[in-house]
């Protein structure tokens, strides 16, 4: 069985079926992207994976364990961290406090210091601003903080929901470089993105989502050269 297996997931908002039976897999060590237009259901899938939204039907297995009905806070100790859409950093707390909250489930102090220093090394701006209230950071800095905060829990699987949303092209590149680095260091990544070109360029495999269903799947390179994908998502 794959590292993360999603079987026949359905999610409804009242009578509206937003996700109509989606199945996909993520293997250990991969970067897998879910791409699709606005309203295709990408964020709904991310929220329901962590049970921020209830699933109507379907099963989710992680590392061989059934996590279909586990509440979100029990997923973190298993090694799943999510960077939610819109970053959702704690705006009224400082940068340092945000990072401490990321390590909420890790009790080892030495490990904490080591991890936080690693984040500061990767993003020196966070070190500079550690005492600053997080709401004062720019969008790109907030995304760096959100990703660092998620990494503080030492996840095996990182779920990234629209990491490039609302960022300047410069920051988009920084963020995608970081995703690749995180993956090279051994973290499996499931990435949801509207920026299909960027996502496909770093993804090992990808699924194309259209109105609640998976329309196509393939390697990142295959999909990048697929004519219908190019027309629909890459603007060529």
């Amino acid at each position: 069985m794959a590292f993360l297996t999603v079987n026949d997931l359905e999610v409804s908002y009242g009578l509206i079926r937003a996700i109509k039976g989606v199945s996909f897999e993520v293997n250990e060590g991969e970067i897998v992207a879910l791409i699709g237009a606005n309203g295709a259901g990408k964020t709904t899938i991310m929220h329901s994976l962590c049970n921020l939204l209830p699933k109507t039907t379907g099963q989710v297995f992680f590392n061989g364990q059934d996590i279909t009905h586990l509440p979100p806070h029990k997923l973190v100790p298993l090694g799943i961290a999510q960077v939610p859409e819109g970053r959702r950093i704690f705006q009224e707390l400082t940068v340092a406090e945000n990072l401490r909250l990321g390590a909420y489930t890790r009790k080892d102090k030495a490990e904490y210091t080591q991890t936080v220093n690693k984040m500061f090394e990767r993003f020196p701006i966070l070190k500079e601003r550690q005492k600053q209230v997080a709401g004062t950071l720019s969008g790109g800095e907030q995304q760096m903080l959100a990703m660092s905060r998620a990494l503080m829990s030492h996840p095996k699987l990182l779920l990234l929901d629209e990491p490039s949303m609302g960022l300047s092209p410069l920051y988009v590149n920084t963020i995608f470089d970081m995703i690749r680095t995180i993956n090279e260091e051994g973290t499996t990544v499931l990435l949801v993105e509207q920026n299909a070109k960027k996502a496909l360029s770093i993804a090992d495999r990808a699924y194309v989502l259209e109105i609640g269903k998976i329309a196509k799947t393939g390697t990142g390179a295959e999909l990048l050269s697929d004519d219908s994908i190019r027309r629909a998502y890459l603007g060529d």
């Binding site: 962590c50 806070h73 959702r88 705006q91 707390l93 401490r100 990321g102 909420y104 829990s153």
Partner: protein, 292 residues
């Protein structure tokens, strides 16, 4: 000076109650209108333990019993009445809270009847000390001192501990907090427990000033403390402290002037209206950015 100390100690009591309202509002996003009745329950617990033979030692023991009862009641109401409504419309939760309030009052009425029952906390025997030409009641000084200690401890707990940080996180963004591995239900239960423990302290301090227990004992201090929480900015811990102290001092000063003392309550609620007109979020309240 005497009025000021009395006002500060009354303000301390309001602040303790207001903290219960404001913390529950900040973290569970609901107005717990049954909070005042938790104080009433604590007052009856104190009555049962000490009756009329109160001395300070017995009062301390009664306080422990009251804390136990209030915390149990607080957790129980949250589990039974409020948790099933998580995610329901705020109006449904509000009505439920009012229902819980009447339920607690009715139970008290069934068990203890509706007449006021006198309690002796031993506060009167403490007498007063002369200070700069006035006499200060020792019970007021004691109340004030304990309120300051409790509020300092609470502030340190919220700002400096891991659980306190988790409370701040839940208060700002419950979903994001759960993604950090924080058990949000546990944090909400804990908040109710802390608020209820503070209510038990408030019950004892209240009885030290007005030593009669009735089933509606919690209503007026409850509504005034709620006013204090709103004046200070609901959801803000320092705001509740400031609002409570402010209201207590104003109340005592109004009552010390015979010409305006009949209008005390009107002045207090008038102040609420003025502050809300000038600063709708309260004195120390923060405008929350709407989440997209």
């Amino acid at each position: 000076m005497e009025t000021l100390i009395n006002g500060l100690s009354l303000g301390g009591i309001y602040a303790l109650i207001a903290l219960g309202y404001t913390m529950v509002y900040g973290i569970a996003k609901m107005l717990n209108f049954a909070h005042g009745d938790i104080i009433m329950a604590g007052a009856y617990a104190i009555f049962v333990v000490i009756g009329l033979q109160g001395n300070l030692l017995l009062s301390a023991a009664a306080l422990l019993v009251a804390i136990l009862l209030c915390v149990t009641l607080g957790i129980l109401t949250e589990r039974v009445a409020y948790r099933p409504l998580r995610g329901a419309s705020p109006l449904a939760v509000l009505i439920t809270a009012i229902g819980v309030s009447y339920l607690l009052q009715s139970i008290a009425q069934l068990v203890f009847k509706s007449e006021g029952l006198p309690v002796s906390t031993g506060a009167a025997s403490l007498g007063s000390v002369p200070f700069l030409g006035t006499n200060l009641k020792v019970s007021s000084l004691l109340t004030l001192g304990l309120c300051i200690i409790i509020m300092t401890a609470l502030t340190l707990f919220v700002d400096k501990t891991r659980i306190g940080r988790a409370m701040l996180a839940v208060s700002e963004d419950r979903a994001a907090a759960s993604l950090m591995g924080i058990n949000t239900n546990f944090i909400i239960t804990l908040t109710f427990a802390i608020g209820s423990a503070l209510a038990a302290f408030a019950a004892l301090f209240y009885l030290m000033q007005i030593p009669v227990v009735t089933p509606v004992l919690g209503s007026l201090p409850g509504i005034k403390a709620f006013t204090a929480a709103v004046i200070g900015g609901i959801g803000s811990i320092p705001g509740a402290m400031l609002g409570g102290i402010l209201l207590g001092v104003i109340e005592c000063f109004c009552q010390s002037v015979p010409e305006i003392s009949p209008y005390t309550t009107a002045i207090e609620f008038g102040l609420l209206i003025v502050i809300l007109l000038v600063r709708p979020v309260g004195l120390l309240g923060k405008k929350r950015r709407e989440k997209v």
